[in-house]
């Protein structure tokens, strides 16, 4: 947390959850738990968002919506799957309309388990997402800086940064 230089904006979308995790995410953004003290802010616009909080599993109807929200977010971006439904499909895994967890549709970086996920766990997930976002945004800046330089240097930096990404 000490190295955070940017304030990421958070977008929240409810997939096909039961609402439990959904209202817990909202509870995290309101006074008692107040995740906004870590420098994030809740937004309703995917084009301005950096972190996507997904609750609930993916079904055939909302798959396109989730995909579109993810595509509309500018790079770099971080996806947090909140609740066991978003992680694996949870109790609804065997239902006919559930494809699976959020990672069936978009690449998920951080998994927050729980049914419903507790605010403390959600805040932990958000804090990790902020760190990851900072790391990715540093890499992005480095890439942009070296863009005009020699091609061999560029590939070298690229390899380095992708290695770092794998460690995270």
């Amino acid at each position: 947390m000490s190295m955070v230089k940017k304030s990421p904006w958070v977008l929240h979308y409810d997939g096909s959850s039961c609402n439990g995790c959904d209202i817990e995410v909202l509870a995290c953004l309101t006074p008692v738990y107040d995740a906004e003290r870590f420098g994030i802010i809740n937004t309703g616009d995917p084009m301005q968002a950096d972190i996507l909080l997904l609750t609930g599993g993916i079904n055939s109807q909302n798959q396109a919506v989730v995909k579109q929200l993810y595509d509309q977010m500018p790079r770099p971006k971080v996806v947090v799957a909140i609740g066991v439904c978003a992680c694996t499909g949870g109790v609804f895994k065997e239902c006919y309309n559930i494809i699976g967890g959020a990672d069936t549709t978009v690449p998920v970086d951080i998994y927050v388990p729980g049914c419903a996920a507790r605010p403390q766990a959600i805040i932990d997930g958000i804090v990790q997402a902020i760190d990851l976002f900072q790391k990715r945004s540093d890499e992005h800046e480095l890439l942009m800086k070296n863009k005009g330089k020699k091609a061999d240097l560029k590939t070298k930096e690229n390899n380095n940064s992708s290695d770092k990404g794998n460690e995270a």
């Binding site: 979308y13 409810d14 997939g15 096909s16 959850s17 039961c18 609402n19 439990g20 995790c21 959904d22 209202i23 817990e24 909202l26 509870a27 309101t30 006074p31 008692v32 937004t43 309703g44 616009d45 995917p46 609930g56 599993g57 079904n59 109807q61 909302n62 919506v65 929200l69 109790v91 609804f92 065997e94 239902c95 006919y96 309309n97 559930i98 049914c115 419903a116 507790r118 605010p119």
Partner: protein, 359 residues
């Protein structure tokens, strides 16, 4: 006569905590027609009856909705108990009523916060949710869960509350009542809030009756309909009259819900005063055989459960009609002729719970 155009509203929208999609046919700023399309949260929960037995289904049914989860589990258990002719002990009934009414307080406070957010009163939203956390703390102390408790089972309850915990609830309720009285001043008597809510989305008593609307949405138009009159659980011993208003606009819906919070607090106080001693669960023998039809008053209105069993461990048929589903025709009616800027408020005014509706 302006040009007609269609504005898509949702499924992801800043006002909406949940995904619902509306196609709004507008002429200038007026809405001519609203066409809802749902299915973004459909999971097919009722189909799980083929994979989970009737005891395990309690936990699935509770996950129909995270806000009124306790009421869903309770109704399902009561349905199975009715089929199996199980006499539930009085203490379990009272415990269910206490938790149920507390869910109502938590749900209405949640809704009031979202309403305040809907008309752009951010600080009021935060204040309301701060009070709501107190109710969740009571849940955590008595059941161990914050939103999904799983304290129901066929035949009674899993957890009991001792006298200390009941006294704690009474103490906390005094505090909650005091704080709700403070925010009620803004919700009901603030000039700018009134100008945003009064006269918007009016439905008459005949209209809500014809469109078969339920819950606070119908009661705000003067329809005196409340499933708690049926006298299930502890309601048969409690003093109860449904709260109604005659205005039928957004303000009336807000007023009904605010007054229901105080009513629920009084009901819990009365129930804690009258709670009998004894067992909290009855023994369950055999397998359910028969069918039943349960009606319950959830925070959003009347929910209907149809359960059919045939002497097997698995339930044959389960059907849930949730309050938001019944209120959707009413919503489409209020949207006709409304201003585009009021759509967020009108959608909120039915207290939409989409994950209930689509299951």
């Amino acid at each position: 006569m302006g040009k007609r155009s269609i504005i898509p509203y949702g499924p992801q929208h800043p006002v909406l905590p949940e995904p619902i999609h509306l196609d709004l046919v507008v002429e200038d700023e007026r809405i001519i027609e609203a066409i809802p399309s749902i299915g973004f949260v459909h999971r097919g929960l009722e189909s799980l009856i083929t994979k989970k037995d009737y005891n395990a289904m309690v936990y699935v049914v509770e996950r129909t909705c995270g806000i009124c989860s306790f009421m869903h589990g309770m109704t399902y258990c009561e349905g199975i108990e009715q089929i199996m002719n199980i006499e539930v002990p009085g203490r379990a009934m009272y415990l269910r009523t206490i938790w149920g009414e507390m869910s109502r307080i938590h749900s209405h406070l949640l809704w009031l916060g979202l309403l305040a957010d809907g008309y752009g009163f951010e600080s009021l939203f935060y204040q309301t949710w701060r009070i709501r956390e107190k109710v969740l703390d009571i849940f955590e102390a008595t059941t161990g869960g914050r939103v999904i408790f799983s304290v129901n089972k066929v035949g009674g309850c899993i957890r009991d509350m001792n006298q200390d915990k009941l006294n704690m609830i009474l103490r906390e309720l005094d505090d909650i009542e005091k704080k709700v009285k403070e925010i009620q001043k803004t919700f009901l008597f603030d000039y700018s809030v009134q100008s945003r809510l009064k006269g918007i989305g009016i439905l008459t008593k005949e209209q809500v009756h014809d469109l078969s609307c339920v819950g606070p949405f119908a009661r705000a138009s003067g329809l005196d309909m409340d499933m708690r009159y049926l006298g299930k659980d502890a309601y048969k011993d409690l003093e109860f009259h449904a709260i109604t208003s005659n205005d039928g606009d957004c303000y009336a819906r807000c007023e009904v819900r605010v007054r229901e919070i105080f009513q629920s607090i009084d009901l819990i106080r009365e129930a804690i005063g009258k709670i009998p001693d004894g067992e909290i669960d009855a023994p369950v023998k055999g397998l359910p055989n028969g069918e039943t039809f349960m009606r319950v008053e959830q925070p959003r209105g009347e929910a209907i459960y149809y359960i059919k069993t045939s002497g097997k461990a698995f339930v044959d048929r389960l059907r849930i009609r949730t309050p938001t589903f019944a209120n959707l025709p009413g919503l489409c009616e209020t949207l006709k002729g409304a201003n585009l800027a009021d759509v967020g408020l009108l959608v909120l005014s039915i207290d939409p719970c989409i994950s209930c509706t689509e299951r």
